[in-house]
Symmetry: C2
């Protein structure tokens, strides 16, 4: 009996008037589950020695109606924000309330009954007057302190009314069905009474077949199954922590800061050292090499006197088991002198707490642009961060090799070479002593690009000190606490446009919450600026980027790498432009789309633009026009559910913006038996890179893919690799693999010529016996790159990936819940290397974006403490969030002359298309607001959570629950 | 109280008349340690409940003389062949024997007293007559069954006499010292009474300094310390079995045949499976891939119905620990139907049991040659095999990687690629699923070239079946039992020569004992044939090579690879030629030496011959002429110790005779921090290959060697590697490393040019940021190779390594013991890459050859059971076997234009120079035989063991102990 105040069942029991039979060893008693049952937070009248024997649930009576409602951030597998159960009993044959019980969860430390309101309603007729009375009374009775745990205070209060209204309508309907009611529920309100039924989503995947006549052995362009798919489905795939334990292996647990900003006054490990199994504790003094670390060398392996975020690594405990190490880590006592933290972007702006440099990207004549504009408007949007939520958390197994300072590390990382270098630096050895091996990751998404070294260095230092293997895999809560995620962004813009909707001037300021170190924040901000115009040609433009230095764990790369945030701001102002002109957003978007040959703000002239083709195909595949009409019809016919429709384009620049990273290597061996072992600079994180690389090698060598194997990525086979990031890994490594295979093929040519009817194995054997080198090291660097911010010249990207999505949603205006009805995506991936994998990336990227823009919320306390530390409180998309109809079409006949076999990058570009859901929601909200007579642009921050949707759908109920005056209270969580 | 019959002390106690005080809980008693004390093999009168309290050793009396003698195969740390203690007491002031006790060990199942002989000597005068009487009596009393355990029956019998003679002389001397004796020990016999005192050997190492002006960073040519030397000296160096255990790891123990040739009737594992800790038993049916294996695919992973040697692998037991697995393996019951085995070469010849093909190498006109000859002689020699006795026995750790049939193996092997392929074949997976890693071996010597797969396949099959890591490191006895060694050879020759000693015709047949599979026997026989003329130009020559198929474990590669055996036969006939002509062997050798431009029997014209230079330097450094005079003087002055002197040249062909193996690869990475990780196809087995390769890379890259690291050899970094064998690994891999480094250097050139004052790190960093490929795959194949036996044309070798050694020894004619007095070696290693390592190789190779030719004996029973299974019974050279003065000089100014940096191979060539010890012994024996009036050629088989030396020094004592008629008894061991 947890007696959780957000229990789903307790309100039902309470409203239904259940009785509980309790028993102890002597006696038995019966108690009513009414408002006296819960005596405090997670406390009840049940005595410790009593057990619950039975629950008596009374049958409902003829004139009794019972309903229960639950509102949670996500529909599936989630705990409530507010839950309610309501029971009303009428005097027989009348609409007069004889008894009513309104029970709420999530509105107090216990499940409560709205007794005052119920009393007021007794004897009243079930009608509009009663509704008004009830709402007024509930708004008064069901209050919450503005600082209440869980936050969302206004929303929760609103829900008490909104859900009562749903009950009101439901009862009205039922009364009428019983032939008692006199009032009819008007048809436009019926949908508010409908109960949500999950539907099985269906998908359509459209791709181009390979040309007729392509050899069966040539799998390029075919939807070959991901090489690990079956293993991953069966659980046989081996991840880092699946490596068998060494007998003398130890487990490490981190000691982290509980303060966002503080001086460390003292660390007391005496109790920890007494814990069973503890081998040692490690702190900054134990680092044999440099304690300075990080991408920009502005971090430490272990905190040095001061902490700058909650989760800041202060030390580590090494013990025989994880449980022992965790117990000991908890026993470490740290005294702090707390300093004022900066947590939010707004606090950082106020304090001008920025990392250098402040980037500006400008082209055209801004002043002239605004002068030319017939309208200007200003706006802003905040885009929340995102937790990577890779299934596999950070993990490192460090195995000292026993001599010369050699260490072998198994790391779940996107950057084996960086891990190697940074670990070597911490150990004080040259890089050639450190071997990093990566078989696969259970997801990376950018979260394992630069930040994994925070753990790997610590584990390596421990293994080096103890001369024993040391392992650490973070628990989910540790991982979420310690590692940063996607940068929250705040965008402020001023936009000038013509009556037509053509945007002629844009001035935008982007602020990112970088956290407590620089990490990759500059490159992320740069990519945000490179994408600030999304797919729109803006002649006069200026973007400025500010990286806020805050006391959060350093935020880092995340699929899209600032691009989605930059584009999200763009979609905000283009929507505002449409709204302010009263035009459809699609019309304005289409009007502003880039066309072939136009320059970007960074002076890269666009070639091979397929935006128009994607747009047109998307509109036609989605049946946009008919849907728009259907949506409008729905919205005219329904007051409390609204549908929205949105078409959003995306243009994603492909290349690392750090030019030197656009290189890749490969090492291909043909063994004597003809089997091929290949490795390249890229890592497999589920995205199918290895599958694609096998396809590339298979085509170049002209052999079935079954003869080719990739075992892992390692720093002793391919050196100085760039992170597997920036969507460029197939391009870069594919070209390097191709290079290596071509070298080998050329060496084999004489043997093929001599024995044209021979098999691959014959040629290989002959070449081996002729002493031909059957190993080749391949290499590739992307040509013609080198953008400079100083001169705003030079090519920033090798090419662009384009896509367009059209989404339709339906919102429940009373609860803020929404349904993703239909999404149609048209994506230009060039000539797909593997349509199965590419469509998987499109779908996966889209769903991750959907989480970003509609669902996922990291809650931080005003003191910078992360409150959402696991799947219980942090909700990524579930099955029910998949659009009921999801169509992904890969654009036909769109070869890309800039990448391997005319393909295009696909990892990040589709993610932003999920904003079509966000803007469809915004479209639906606009319709809801129109019912309250509110028109024109309005701010909607991301994610478009149920709370935000509900609040934005301003109506009579929300008006009864005004928010508390900001600054008059300390909120539970802040928008960082 | 082991009561060992070859106890060193018991004869002394017995001869001295010791008394033992024994005690049990009730009583105490005193027993005399006389001939009634030992009641049987390892049995005494001591009762089980008794303990030994004290040993009473009586003081010797004034006219009592006690001596003890021990003869063992090796002087240090060895058990006796025969041991004796003798005590004689004279009537005061006389030479009349009052009491005499002659106690012998090694002549019966117990320590015995020669009571009959002693009785006969009582009351007799200590003089020549007594000696004759004693010898006759001892020869009668101290008999041994010709089948007696331990063998060496004639030798042991002879020793009873010879040692008595030593005692006789010693007592004579002492009597005289006491003023009693009338007879004097003649001066030529004094040395027979001298007691051996170990002396500390001293060595001189001479090499050429690097040219003046060579950069300090350029370590090529300098005596740089072996990179692992300190670690190996301290025990910190990590070998395969030092890899920490995995928690779920299992241990494997082999089930092997106890029969040399048999059908397996049944295998009963029921008892084994009941043993604690047993996980499973494995047999042929458990091999998922092919059970057929081996270099020539004529072997099985597990025996299939039949066994063909003792130690043949039938199955394996896997358990949690080694002890448990061993216990279970012993509990496996196997029933055999025994078949007649073929054990020896002579048996194989009789049965014409040969492997195909029988190789013939012929040049000139044999018939004409013999016609031209003024003399012909025939002879024969048997050269015993040799156990590799690497310090580290066979070991494999197989770790299944959990998917795709991947397996990672840590193996102590010279052939990672062959291990990979053969394991893959057994597992039924392509080679690309198997990764073999070799950090270093604790010695290889050829024993880990092809045979290690016998263990690796079994361990891999077990790991694959159980999906758990499995390890096996053979115990020494298992290793000696299961793995073959150097091929025993039997050579038969007919040689035609002129009066001058010039050999004009040679017909030689070589028979090798190949064992139960082909393995590398053909290549070994070919190399024996390629070296059948050693360094001598023989115009008309024919060699035939027969590989005997026997029921011994397959013999295999061993440093020299047949070359030493071929050359040993040559030195036998050249010695015979000299003996038959009465000329000095050195004169005949010098006369026949190859000179520049002469062709070999395989039609390879010799260029850059340095034999003459080595010869002359060796003679001058050793002071040959003076020593010859001193030896002659010694021999004239000493009847029972003789000195011998010999100068032996060697010429060793460098290349794998299998042309395709003359290839090598390397992979060199320069990491961003400037550190270099290098790997190449060669393995480190203590020979210093990695050190040399680092030197090569250091010179080519122009950086200090400290920046370069080699971690290991692995099949995923360099593919299709040839075994580290044939002395060619520095040549081949050095060239491949050079190739890779030159590629890298060229890529760095622009950055050096641009920033000539920059550091290596500057250039590397600049190149990295410019996206220059800092990895290179190097390759090398030796040009212009390709000998064909069919046409007797094509170059067999890339070049030859030459050397000459002069050795002086002293033999004890009575015991057969010998002392290595002085050896001077001049070796042509071209321009040494590393004189410290090269001299180490010369010294090590020489000492291993010394073991081969003078010490090491594998004893097999007539049924093919190996009797010598450990260091207790198999004696490799000890400190005392090092020549007291050992000088190694590397020939100056001898650049070799055929290999890296003008160096030459050094691994195998020096080994044969140890035959100079053998032929010095033979020289000394000749002097001894001359004392008995025997002259002319005589057969001396290798090794020149104490037994063989003693028997060859035919004298009055040996005549008293004639060998039993062959065929009339079953010997303990046979010459295989």
């Amino acid at each position: 009996m947890t007696a959780s105040p957000i229990s789903d069942l307790n309100p039902v029991f309470m409203a239904a008037g259940c009785k509980l039979t309790l028993m102890d060893k002597d006696t038995s008693r019966e108690v009513q589950m009414d408002d006296s049952f819960f005596t405090g937070y997670r406390k009840t009248v049940v005595r410790p020695q009593e057990i619950l024997v039975s629950v008596h649930i009374p049958y409902s009576k003829k004139f009794q109606f019972v309903s229960a409602f639950k509102q949670s951030p996500r529909r599936e597998d989630d705990i409530s924000i507010v839950t309610t159960a309501m029971s009303v009993t009428f005097a027989p044959g009348t609409e007069v309330v004889e008894d009513i019980r309104l029970s709420y969860g999530g509105m107090a430390p216990t499940t409560v009954l709205a007794k005052k309101t119920a009393n007021k309603l007794l004897g009243r007729q079930w009608g509009e007057e009663l509704l008004q009375e009830a709402c007024l009374s509930l708004a008064e009775e069901m209050t919450l302190d503005p600082s209440a745990p869980g936050g969302m205070v206004t929303y929760r209060r609103t829900l008490t009314l909104s859900l009562f209204y749903k009950f009101f309508l439901t009862v009205l309907q039922k009364l009428r069905l019983q032939g008692v009611g006199t009032q009819e529920v008007s048809s436009d309100c019926v949908s508010a009474t409908e109960v949500y039924q999950p539907e099985t989503p269906s998908g359509i995947q459209i791709y181009q077949a390979v040309p007729e006549g392509q050899s069966q052995d040539d799998v390029v362009g075919r939807p070959m199954m991901h090489l690990s798919a079956l293993k991953q489905a069966t659980g046989e795939a081996v991840y880092c922590d699946d490596i068998p334990l060494y007998e003398n292996e130890l487990y490490l647990v981190l000691i982290t800061s509980t303060k966002a900003h503080a001086r460390i006054l003292s660390v007391d490990v005496s109790a920890a050292k007494r814990c069973p199994g503890v081998v040692c504790c490690l702190f900054a003094d134990d680092v044999p090499g440099s304690n300075i670390t990080g991408v920009k060398q502005d971090e430490t392996v272990f905190a040095d006197g001061q902490v700058s975020c909650v989760g800041h690594i202060i030390g580590a405990v090494v013990a025989d088991t994880q449980v022992h190490a965790q117990r000991a880590a908890k026993a470490v006592k740290i005294q702090y002198e707390e300093l004022q933290p900066i947590v939010t972007i707004q606090e950082a702006i106020a304090a001008r707490s920025f990392y250098e440099p402040i980037r500006t990207l400008q082209s055209g004549d801004l002043e002239a642009g605004f002068k030319q504009a017939q309208h200007t408007l200003e706006g802003e949007i905040h885009i929340g961060g995102q937790e990577h939520f890779y299934l596999e958390t950070y993990v490192t197994l460090a195995v000292p090799r026993g001599e010369d300072g050699e260490m072998e590390l198994f790391v779940s990382t996107q950057s084996p070479s960086d891990s190697q270098c940074i670990v070597a630096q911490a150990l004080g050895v040259p890089a050639n002593r450190v071997l990093v091996r990566v078989k696969r990751m259970g997801g990376g998404f950018g979260g394992k690009e630069s930040r994994t070294t925070a753990l790997s260095t610590v584990v390596a230092v421990a293994a080096n000190k103890l001369k024993r293997p040391v392992r650490c895999m973070l628990d989910r809560d540790e991982d979420m606490l310690i590692t940063g995620g996607r940068h929250p962004f705040y965008g402020k813009y001023k936009v000038g446009f013509l009556n037509s909707g053509k945007v002629v001037a844009l001035d935008v300021s982007l602020y990112s919450n970088a956290g407590n170190s620089t990490d990759l924040s500059l490159a992320i901000m740069e990519r945000a600026l490179f994408h600030m115009e999304n797919s729109y040609s803006i002649p006069n433009i200026r973007g400025q980027g500010f990286m806020c230095r805050t006391n959060l764990p350093s935020n880092t790369a995340f699929r899209g790498f600032g691009g989605p945030q930059g584009m999200m701001v763009a979609e905000s102002w283009i929507t505002d432009v449409a709204h302010s002109l009263g035009r459809s957003a699609e019309e304005v978007r289409r009007l502003n789309l880039y066309v072939e040959g136009e320059p970007t703000p960074y002076n890269q002239v666009l070639h091979g633009v397929t935006l128009d083709r994607c747009w047109d195909e998307c509109l036609s595949r989605s049946g946009y026009e008919q849907r728009r009409a259907a949506v409008d019809l729905h919205n005219r016919q329904n007051r409390w559910t609204k549908r929205g429709l949105s078409v959003v384009p995306t243009k994603f620049g492909i290349s690392f913006t750090a030019t030197f990273l656009n290189q890749a290597g490969a090492l291909v061996h043909i063994y004597k038996d003809g089997s091929v072992l290949m490795t390249h600079g890229g890592t497999e994180m589920g995205q199918g890179l290895h599958t694609k690389m096998v396809q590339v090698a298979s085509r170049v060598l002209g052999i079935p893919s079954s003869k080719i194997h990739i075992s892992e990525t390692s720093t002793n086979t391919v050196a100085n690799t760039s992170p597997t990031a920036a969507s460029a890994s197939s391009d870069l490594n594919g070209a390097a693999v191709c290079n290596a295979c071509e070298i080998l093929l050329k060496r084999l040519e004489p043997f093929k010529t001599k024995n044209p009817r021979g098999s691959w194995e014959d040629w290989v054997k002959a070449a081996y016996f002729e002493r031909v080198n059957l190993s080749a090291n391949g290499f590739f660097k992307t040509p013609d790159l080198g953008y400079s911010f100083d001169t705003n010249s030079g090519r920033a990207f090798n090419y662009f990936s384009y896509g367009v999505a059209c989404s339709e949603v339906e919102i429940d205006c009373l609860t803020g819940a929404h349904k993703n009805l239909k999404t149609t995506i048209v994506m230009d991936v060039g000539l797909s290397l593997n349509p199965a994998i590419d469509i998987g990336q499109v779908e996966g990227g889209f769903m991750q974006g959907l989480g970003l823009f509609t669902l996922e919320e990291l809650h931080y306390s005003p003191q910078g403490v992360l409150l959402t530390r696991g799947p219980g409180s942090y909700k990524i998309p579930a099955f029910g969030d998949i659009p009921k109809q999801l169509t992904v079409s890969l654009l036909r006949d769109a070869p890309n002359d800039k990448a391997i076999f005319a393909s295009k990058a696909v990892g990040e570009p589709p993610l932003f298309l999920a904003s079509s859901i966000f803007y469809a929601i915004k479209d639906a909200i606009m319709a809801a607001r129109a019912e309250s007579g509110i028109t024109g642009p309005f701010r909607l921050d991301s994610p478009a959570s149920a709370e935000r949707i509900r609040i934005a759908c301003s109506d009579r109920f929300t008006k009864l629950c005004p928010p508390a005056e900001p600054g008059t209270f300390r909120p539970w969580s802040v928008q960082v």
